[in-house]
Amino acid sequence: MPESHAMAAHQFDDLEQQREAASLGIWVFIATEIMFFGGLFTGYTVYRTQYFASFVAGSHLLDLKLGAVNTAVLICSSLTMALAVYAAQTGKRKLLILFLIFTMILGTGFLGIKFVEYATKYHHHLIPGFNFAPEGVYPPQMQLYFCFYFAMTALHALHMIIGLGLLAALVIMAGRGRFTPESHNPVEAIGIYWHFVDIIWIFLFPLLYLVGGR
């Protein structure tokens, strides 16, 4: 059984070449992702410099506790993902499935908390273009802050959702015994992707929640 799965695809000479190609492929993809988020980070930086007071005011309306909890949840999910990759490398199938499911639970938890945060923003009328009408006096460019808050976190959440789908696919493939210590490129690649999504959040958290000190 493992031999038939361990065949390289027809365009590759051997499994080693296939593994190297998959690994380089995912890193190149990460480079493109960095530039994708980079556009938003640039816009954020420009407006934060220009309208610092508005960004501080907007940041102070976020729930720091939920943000911090979410950061912790996501870091834990990176750990379980790393353990899952290790399990794949050492050929421990049950452990692999277990850690993948842990990672999915943590990822779903992150999205759940994010949903609670979004719901609060909805109740406080803080969603630009939808119901932006905060109470009281607020600096004029606070809406811009929330534009970037939602654009950046929503894009991040979209990456999380895609990641969860990929993890689910991995669980199914692992259940069918598709991975061996020699051949588990998808686990490695999706692992790298998952860590990347985490790192994006590690940048988003201070940029969005900790503007101007709390």
Binding site: A9, H10, Q11, F12, D13, Q17, E20, A21, L24, G25, V28, F29, A31, T32, E33, M35, F36, F37, G38, G39, L40, T42, G43, V46, Y47, Q50, Y51, S54, P128, G129, F130, P140, Q141, Q143, L144, C147, A151
Partner: protein
């Protein structure tokens, strides 16, 4: 001379190759063979070329008279917008990379396919979906923002189908990203034994540099266009000054991609040119490493010059100066290539088949476009000619005179490999000549129009500009005919052309070791490379 494996027609018909291995629409739409995907791209970009070209014809017709011969200004604005969007995003950017690149990258490095064949097919479907959005925008009533989508006009003021067109461009971007990713991995990991980096054909170097831009540039325009769509849907104020947004930020982000995008069009053309010049002068390229490295230099420096599109847009004086000098820096590697091509011809054995005629036309037109770029990089000069027909002429010389000439040259050069048939040589030379003449007659007068001060995107213009506009339109009609001739004879030759041998030009390069057309796995056995690129035989003579 390498020994040519000349096949009898019957043999070619009976041999199994990538074209006859399967039949039926499904075998094409579900193929993962890089050669078939290249043909899918060839058909689709030709379709988009016809759409963009028809818009160009109507634009030039309308400009025959100062008051606009055919259409209302609102329609004219939609015509030039669709011309720009379709030609840039759906023809020029995928032209050489997605057609010739897809076909040739594995063949030239001695691989059986690209590293990720399914991803390759996916990228074509993504391209088609993006194209359908854009075609929907055209059919539903058009879009009038120009291909540049400048805010706040596109985000707040235009009443046309900006959303569909923007999403089309956004989606198509992913097609470029997937293609670039595939090429980078393939070139890194799948070269045949002995194919070291400095034995790679220069076309591969060019594709590699192009892929870097695909990977690093395309996502930025993706997110920017997405922000425009968001701003349009929800009036967020990201680029709207009334809400504190900055329209110049849009221009910075837009040009951060769209200037390198010009190099996406011209770098592959330069790669094709290096193949043509060497083959038809039977010479090793002069200064291989300089030509190869200049591709990388262009790709990297190309990311540092975007604000030269904004000298009069309201950037600071010092920003203007920095971007001016950086723009001159990127001109150096381009001129290095031209000089090396010229030197390659020296003491060569030069023949004038149609691909070489296109290749020589390329050098001429690209040089004309390149030197006028130096006018535009000079700040005081740019202030006068910016946003006039001078700029239009400049970038058409690069993108049409340069990129399209090379694309056609490449299509003719590799046509025997692609189709297994020869194109009719006489017609091909004739059309190369017609295109060269028609092109110059169309766009040279536009340099003068620009210096006289005729702004771009004007359906109605002061009468003193009419004579030059009429000349330009006359040229355009010749150019249009010139482009139709190859379309007809190439289709004709697929069935009736003489059967081609595996290496009709006596060219070096692994792609010519495979049969014409190649089998699905390209090579019967993996080739081993022992020599440098363009290792044409030469005799040693004492240097005088």
């Amino acid at each position: 001379m390498s020994t040519l494996s000349v096949e009898e027609p019957e043999q070619a018909e009976s041999r199994v190759h990538y074209l006859n291995v399967h039949y039926g629409v499904k075998s094409w739409l579900l193929t993962t063979d890089h050669k078939r995907i290249a043909l899918l791209y060839l058909a689709s970009i030709t379709l988009f070329f016809l759409v963009g070209g028809s818009a160009a014809v109507l634009i030039r017709m309308n400009l025959l008279t100062p008051t606009g011969l055919l259409v209302e200004p609102a329609t004219y604005n939609k015509l030039f917008s669709i011309h720009g969007i379709v030609m840039v995003f759906f023809f020029l950017i995928p032209s050489i990379p997605a057609v010739l690149g897809n076909f040739l990258v594995p063949l030239m490095i001695g691989a059986r396919d690209l590293a990720f064949p399914k991803l390759n097919l996916l990228s074509w479907y993504v391209y088609i979906v993006g194209g359908l959005f854009t075609l929907y925008a055209v059919i539903a009533g058009g879009v009038d923002t120009g291909w540049t989508f400048y805010a706040p006009y596109s985000s707040t003021y235009s009443n046309t189908h900006v959303m569909a067109a923007a999403l089309g461009v956004f989606i198509t971007g992913f097609s470029s990203i997937l293609t670039g990713l595939n090429f980078i991995v393939t070139i890194h990991k799948m070269r045949a034994p002995g194919m070291t980096w400095f034995r790679l054909p220069l076309f591969i170097w060019a594709m590699y540099a192009t892929s870097v831009i695909f990977i690093l540039g395309t996502p930025v325009i993706g997110i920017t266009i997405l922000l425009i769509a968001l701003e349009r849907a929800a009036h967020l104020g990201i680029f709207n000054p009334a809400l504190g947004g900055d329209p110049l930020l849009f221009q910075h982000l837009f040009w951060f991609y769209s200037h390198p995008a010009v190099y996406i069009m011209i770098l592959p053309a330069m790669g094709v040119e290096s193949e043509l010049i060497t083959c038809f002068s039977k010479k090793r390229i002069f200064g291989y490493s300089f030509v190869a490295m200049s591709s990388l230099a262009i790709a990297l420096l190309g990311f540092l010059v975007w604000a030269h599109h904004m000298f009069v847009a309201g950037v600071s004086m010092y920003a203007g100066m920095v971007f001016s000098i950086l723009s001159y820096l990127v001109a150096v590697p381009s001129s290095v290539k031209v000089f090396n091509w010229t030197a390659t011809l020296y003491k060569g054995s030069i023949s004038y088949e149609a691909p070489m005629l296109y290749g020589m036309g390329f050098i001429g037109l690209f040089s004309m476009g390149g030197v006028t770029g130096m006018f535009l990089a000079s700040l005081g000069m740019d202030v006068h000619v910016h946003d006039t027909y001078f700029v239009i002429a400049h970038f058409h010389y690069i993108m049409v005179g340069g990129a399209v000439m090379a694309y056609l040259g490449g299509i003719h050069f590799w046509w025997p490999k692609i189709s297994g048939r020869m194109y009719p040589e006489g017609w091909a030379r004739f059309s190369a000549l017609i295109i060269f003449l028609g092109f110059n007659l169309t766009f040279f007068p536009q340099y003068i129009l620009g210096y006289l001060g005729m702004p771009r995107r004007y359906p109605v213009y002061p009468p003193e500009f009419q004579v030059l506009n009429v000349m330009s339109t006359a040229g355009a009609s010749i150019l249009g005919v010139g482009y139709l001739i190859p379309l007809i004879y190439l289709i004709w030759s697929m069935r009736y052309g003489p059967v081609a041998s595996s290496n009709p030009w006596g060219a070096k390069g692994l792609e010519w070791q495979a049969p014409s057309p190649p089998p699905t796995d390209n090579f019967e056995e993996t080739p081993v490379v022992t020599a440098q690129a363009y290792d044409y035989p030469s005799r040693e003579v004492e240097v005088a």
